[in-house]
């Protein structure tokens, strides 16, 4: 496959197609609409299902239905639409069917704006709907990584029969970057033995999240939690740069992680021992690696495009061992590398002065 210049949203859509998505249901919303539009063109061409739903509520329930048949199914939206889908997320998690959701986050609360933001971190990593669960959440920082994680998202969804998010923001969604798409995977057949395909020569299959009997529902919850514990143990993903001798580590994901990278490199040029830690899985949060780093580092500086959400997870992982400070922009404002650099200098100086 050749490297070509691609817009993030289109790359996400085409990567899903290459991963063998059989059904896409969605509703237009900026800044993810190019994803839906690419699907509108490509899915019918390939004889796969595409429906522009009447709402995000309908879209996620169509995904739920298609996923019940064992097909790879997905939707995409942006913050206000994700709020509407929460009902469906919860049912999907409760009935353990696999599906993938893309959230190209925008500034909030409310209608907010369409500028890049990371303000849905809590919404997607905590439970993404009512009930007691976590979805798997992956956050790419480039168009190439968006493609790679999109493919991985479908594999994870299938492996765990679980809800998987790929979250980015309008910057990654709208940005043109050179990237390489994977080869087309064949559509997965046969369906899982749990899927709804008609009870032909077998007992009937039921997909439900309903269990009225409390002891039985607790047992279902225990099973779900055991699965999530396994995911937590085995699926933490992160990348890091210049952390070996770092006294200060900047922690950022997606776009903010990428901008922080520029600032960290500049700080290094100025002789400061600064590194970057970029979570790729937001849930499970890469706490194992981060708490190991907490043993060797003087402080963490968390950078987000929100008022401090992942900050909680970094604090938990740091376990009070080292100071954790925060720099963030909200409302769709994207931090400039210089702003982050200045903050690095401030925090780094605190470290060096406190050391003497």
């Amino acid at each position: 496959m050749a490297v070509e210049l691609m817009k993030g949203n289109v790359a996400l859509a085409e990567a899903a197609i290459r991963a063998g998505v059989e059904a896409y249901f969605g509703y237009p919303i900026t800044p993810q609409t190019e994803l839906l539009e690419h699907m509108a063109k490509r899915m019918p061409e390939l004889g796969r299902a595409f429906v522009q739903a009447e709402s995000e509520v309908a879209a996620i329930n169509m995904v739920y239905g298609a996923a019940c048949t064992g097909a790879r199914a997905m939707t995409s939206s942006s913050s206000p639409g994700i709020s509407l889908m929460q009902e469906g997320f919860s049912y999907i998690a409760g009935s353990e069917v696999p599906c993938v959701v893309v959230d190209i986050m925008r500034g909030g609360p409310g209608l907010g704006n369409i500028q890049p933001s990371q303000s849905d971190y809590f919404q997607v990593t905590r439970s993404a709907g009512h009930g007691d669960y976590h979805a798997i959440v992956l956050a790419p920082a480039s168009v190439q990584e968006a493609i790679d994680l999109m493919v991985e998202a479908f594999d994870l969804a299938d492996e765990y029969r679980h809800l998987v998010f790929v979250v980015a923001d309008g910057l990654i969604g709208q940005m043109m970057e050179p990237a390489e798409l994977p080869a087309m995977k064949p559509i997965r057949r046969p369906r899982g033995d749990w899927a709804l395909t008609g009870a032909d020569g077998r007992e009937k299959n039921i997909i439900t999240s309903l269990e009225l009997n409390a002891p039985d529902l607790e047992e279902l919850n225990n099973r779900l939690q055991a699965k999530l514990a396994h995911i937590r143990e085995h699926e933490q993903r992160s990348t890091e740069m210049l952390t070996g001798d770092a006294r200060l580590i900047v922690v950022g994901y997606g776009t903010s992680g990428r901008i922080a990278e520029t600032a960290v490199k500049q700080a290094r040029r100025e002789g400061m021992k600064v590194g970057l830690f970029r979570p790729i899985s937001l849930w499970p949060f890469p706490e194992k690696r981060l708490s190991a780093l907490a043993d060797q580092v003087g402080a963490f500086l968390v950078v987000e495009m929100n008022a401090g959400q992942m900050l909680d997870d970094v604090r938990l992982a740091a376990g009070g061992q080292v100071p954790v400070t925060f720099y963030g922009r909200t409302g769709g404002m994207v931090p400039m590398p210089e702003e982050i650099y200045d903050e690095i200098v401030t925090q780094y100086n605190k470290l060096t002065t406190s050391a003497v």
Binding site: E54, A58, A66, E87, G198, A199, D200, K204
Partner: protein, 262 residues
């Protein structure tokens, strides 16, 4: 002279294969059970049980998937038509149906049913209109009759404040993608037999790929209405039928031929 006649035993009544043999949770006199049986008989007669996927609603019939001996899913409140859309788009050769109450279909899920019908989604909807929210203890539904007492319209439904009951068969008959939309009732044997024929036609419409099909069934909720089961049957006939006339609201091209073929 004594003769020994061989009396051949003939089965005149048995449980359809498409219906499970389990205790019912429906109240005495509730016609959800009758509707279940009719659907199950039709699935048997059409020989499609093994390739049918049912979508249950939220409401008293939330456990419909336990009663039907077919693959089944449980939808969120009102979302069964969206789920059925997802299922049918992936598996167009399977028989897909939703079974929904009036709160489910005509209130919280009205967008999903209207758009499924408009798109002409090729599945069948069995719509139970009992003029009340049964499961949550008898609150006003969009189908509650003017003046009807419910726990949330304690002095009777005041149309000045709450509007008039919604007539779904009439409304959906206007959807271009709807092929077969009719209203029947379950209040006596004659109507039950007519209801069954309509359910059969609805599934045949789906099998022929003609588009969306719905059978609205006027149904008894003696518990919610706070009447006896026989009174409930009379109430359907005397109160509901005048407001919800029985009849065929949309018969698209090709549907008549299906009935004749039978």
């Amino acid at each position: 002279m004594a003769t020994t006649a061989m009396v051949e035993e003939k089965v005149v009544y048995q449980r359809p294969e498409s219906l499970e043999s389990i205790p019912t949770h429906y109240c005495p006199g509730c016609t959800h059970g009758v509707a279940h049986r009719l659907v199950a008989e039709v699935l048997d007669e059409l020989g499609v049980r093994e390739r049918t996927i049912g979508v249950s609603p939220v409401g008293c019939s939330v456990f419909a998937y336990k009663y039907f001996n077919t693959d089944g899913a449980e939808a969120a409140h009102g979302r069964a038509p969206a789920m059925a859309t997802g299922i049918k788009r992936i598996m167009p050769d399977r028989v897909v149906f939703t079974y929904q109450g009036d709160g489910d279909l005509a209130a919280i899920g009205i967008a999903e049913i209207v758009h499924a019908a408009t798109r002409g989604e090729n599945f069948t909807t069995i719509f139970i209109n009992n003029a009340i929210y049964g499961m949550t203890g008898g609150q006003m539904a969009p189908t509650t009759l003017p003046g009807q007492r419910t726990t949330s319209s304690p002095v009777g439904r005041d149309v000045e404040l709450t509007g008039f009951p919604i007539r779904m068969a009439e409304l959906l008959s206007g959807a271009p993608g709807a092929a077969y939309v009719v209203r029947r009732s379950l209040h006596n044997v004659k109507e039950i037999n007519r209801a069954k024929r309509a359910i059969k036609t609805a599934f045949e419409v789906q099998l022929a790929g003609l588009g969306f099909s719905m059978v609205e069934l006027l149904s008894a909720c003696p518990t919610g209405w706070k009447v006896t089961p026989p009174e409930a049957m009379d109430w359907i006939e005397q109160q509901m039928v005048p407001y919800y006339p029985l009849g065929d609201y949309k018969i698209a091209d090709g549907v008549e031929q299906l009935a004749k073929r039978r």
